[in-house]
């Protein structure tokens, strides 16, 4: 309404630097993971390095062409055929025509859509679409390759194939920059890592060191979000307290989480709560959205909500809980509202060393039977 009444008034804005004081050097042939929490500036860094946006200050020197493998399928036009799209997308990503023609067969082979080259891609299944798009990008011959969370596409088989392809790229002596939330692919792919927090470079070094710092960073976030007014969300309602009944559980225990939301008489309409449980790597293990179980809450009364999570066996480790209070949008987003620990005491009859469960996100109740 305000904008309608005063159409010529300029909206006020505050200046925001997404990145500052970033200083690092990457030798040729390294695969570097860029790690940080949401909003740490990872994608901005990649955008500046790939020249999508220009920096306001500073200097970047690149030892060659940069190809970016950002979102899969940008640059694909649904009406064009597979063949036409390969050429269009290849050109967009910086390939010369001769390069594309030379590698055309390889691209088609890798994608496995050879039969449908003359079909407009709008008729492709989403899997085929993604495979073709990835194949074009993966065959870029630029000296530097920037990747933003795209390896998580397609089915498991294609994902492994892509990961292997990316590893080959790095082995060829080309430089790979990789942004991801998935720690598993960073460890699998990268030889070095950079840790960003709040737009600043915190650490640059080995993958293990950086991952360690990344895990620790979850605790500092919990401290800053404890003050309700500093949390994101409209603030119409704010959770006043989130508690875990016990801060230490075993894998099989029911996890009981208590959430207090004070009333706000001015807030109209019932709201729902979504609770995310993240593991130490920041991977969301489960989302407990109250809409799924038809639980809605009335803002006219103080609410003391008890959430019981059962039915998964958490792997030993540290977990953080994010609480979101939502109606049409997010009213309160409290990341790291509480933490709990799951004891390294396995719920199985035999005691084994860690290796038996290493890398598993969750444990399960299973049985082997001879038939």
């Amino acid at each position: 309404m305000h904008r309608l009444r005063h159409p010529l008034e300029r909206p006020e804005f505050e200046e925001f630097s997404a990145l500052s004081g970033i200083n690092f050097e990457i030798p040729f042939g390294e695969a570097v993971g860029i790690i940080g929490r949401n909003g740490a500036g990872k994608s901005t860094l990649l955008k500046v390095l790939t020249r999508i946006t220009a920096p306001t200050t500073g200097r970047i020197e690149l030892g060659g062409r940069v190809g970016s493998l950002l979102e899969v399928g940008t640059g694909f036009h649904p009406e064009l055929t597979g063949r036409e799209n390969i050429f269009l997308n290849g050109a967009l990503l910086g390939m010369r025509r001769s390069e594309i023609t030379r590698r055309f067969d390889e691209i088609v082979d890798f994608s496995g859509v050879a039969k449908f080259l003359e079909t407009p891609v709008k008729r492709y299944s989403s899997g085929m679409y993604v495979r073709l798009a990835f194949s074009v990008a993966a065959h870029l011959e630029t000296e530097i390759l920037a990747i933003d969370e795209v390896l998580a596409v397609g089915d498991a088989e294609f994902r492994n194939k892509s990961l292997a392809k990316m590893r080959d790229v790095a082995k060829d002596g080309r430089t790979v920059l990789y942004v991801s939330h998935q720690m598993a692919t960073v460890t699998a792919l990268c030889t070095q890592a950079i840790f960003l927090a709040g737009g600043k470079l915190v650490h640059s070094g080995s993958v293990d060191d950086v991952l360690e710092m990344y895990r620790d960073s979850f605790e500092t976030v919990a401290q800053t979000t404890a003050v309700a007014s500093r949390r994101p969300g409209t603030g119409e309602l704010r959770a006043s307290d989130v508690r875990v009944a016990d801060t230490i559980f075993t894998s099989v225990d029911d996890k009981v989480i208590e959430i207090d939301v004070p009333a706000n008489l001015e807030s109209i309409g019932s709201y729902f709560i979504s609770c995310h449980i993240n593991d130490a790597n920041g991977i969301v293990i489960t989302k407990c959205d109250s809409r799924l179980v038809e639980a809605w809450f009335d803002p006219e009364h103080d609410q003391q909500v008890q959430l019981t999570v059962s039915g998964i066996w958490f792997a030993p480790g540290r977990y953080t809980i994010d609480v979101f209070i939502c109606r049409m949008g997010i009213l309160d987003a409290w990341e790291g509202a509480a933490t709990f620990e799951v004891l390294p005491e396995l719920p199985y009859p035999e005691t084994m060393n860690d290796e038996a469960i290493q890398g598993a996100l969750v444990l399960s109740d299973f049985e082997y039977a001879r038939r």
Binding site: A54, G58, L62, G64, L70, G75, L80, A91, L92, M95
Partner: protein, 272 residues
């Protein structure tokens, strides 16, 4: 191995011509995409290109030639307005396509790096193709009506170049401004609609009363269209200064368009 240095852009940010040239494949592919898309899944395909100026010229000759009886300096009215429409369609097509091109390719501009200027520039392909097809038909019409354009016909590419530069300059500036101000999107069709009647296309400048004529001479597009028409129909342009002025203005407009575009380029990915 070539080394690339990225620094904050300077105030006067001239395009890197070499980079543009190296990425010409992108413009070519965009152009190809436009052309293919236009005629894929249409029943009569390329015939649309011929139909548009023919029908427009036909309507004009009925309304303005027969009903209003506007003078055409002795040229058959249909031919007169066909040639006018030919030049106008080029201008109109390029400005309306190119000015919206950045916004139409939002996803690309925000996600992939390539010289941004190629996006509006690539609109030239489809528009030029239309123009050439319609021009070929125009030449056939010249024979049909028995009009001999004379040696002036050889200057046609020069005036076409002027028209191209002039239209591109405006389009580049408009496309860059549209990234931030979508108002441009609403203004352009409106201006183009008025322009069709405000520019001497359906009538010749001699039909305009003396007192108003300066107003029409203030429109550089009128100069270029008169020159194009002169070279195709063998008429003499009404003023001697039209030719040098048209060349000068189109070069200046193109240059200014490039400057406006470049000065805004750095914010495209953030604002679009």
């Amino acid at each position: 191995m070539s080394k690339i240095v990225i620094t904050p852009p300077r105030r006067l940010n001239l395009p890197k011509w070499r980079e543009l040239w190296e990425a010409r494949e992108v413009a070519y592919r965009f152009g190809q995409r436009d052309v293919i898309l236009r005629y894929r899944q249409t029943a009569v395909g390329v015939i649309w290109v011929l139909l548009q100026p023919l029908v427009a010229a036909g309507v004009f000759s009925i309304v303005f030639g027969n009903l209003a009886g506007l003078p055409t300096d002795g040229v058959p009215y249909f031919l007169f307005s066909y040639v006018g429409m030919l030049a106008w369609n080029f201008f109109n097509g390029l400005v309306s396509r190119a000015s919206g091109s950045l916004v139409a390719n939002q996803a690309l501009v925000a996600k992939v790096f390539f010289p941004r200027m190629l996006v509006p520039l690539s609109s030239v392909f489809a528009v030029l193709l239309d123009f050439l097809v319609a021009l070929a038909l125009g030449i056939v019409l010249l024979f049909v009506y028995g009009v001999n354009p004379g040696w002036g016909f050889l200057l046609m590419p020069v005036w076409l170049m002027c028209l191209l530069l002039f239209s591109l300059g405006l389009s580049l500036a408009a496309s860059a401004l549209m990234v931030k101000y979508r108002d441009v999107m609403y203004v352009i069709p409106w201006v183009l609609q008025i322009g069709l009647y405000a520019t001497p296309i359906a009538y010749s400048l001699s039909a305009v009363p003396e007192g108003f004529r300066w107003l029409f001479y203030a429109n550089p597009l009128a100069w270029i269209i008169e020159l194009v028409r002169g070279s195709l129909l063998g008429t003499t342009p009404s003023q001697v200064w039209l030719a040098p002025a048209a060349i000068l203005v189109s070069v200046v407009v193109a240059f200014l368009g490039v400057l406006v575009f470049q000065s805004r380029e750095r914010e495209f990915a953030d604002l679009i």
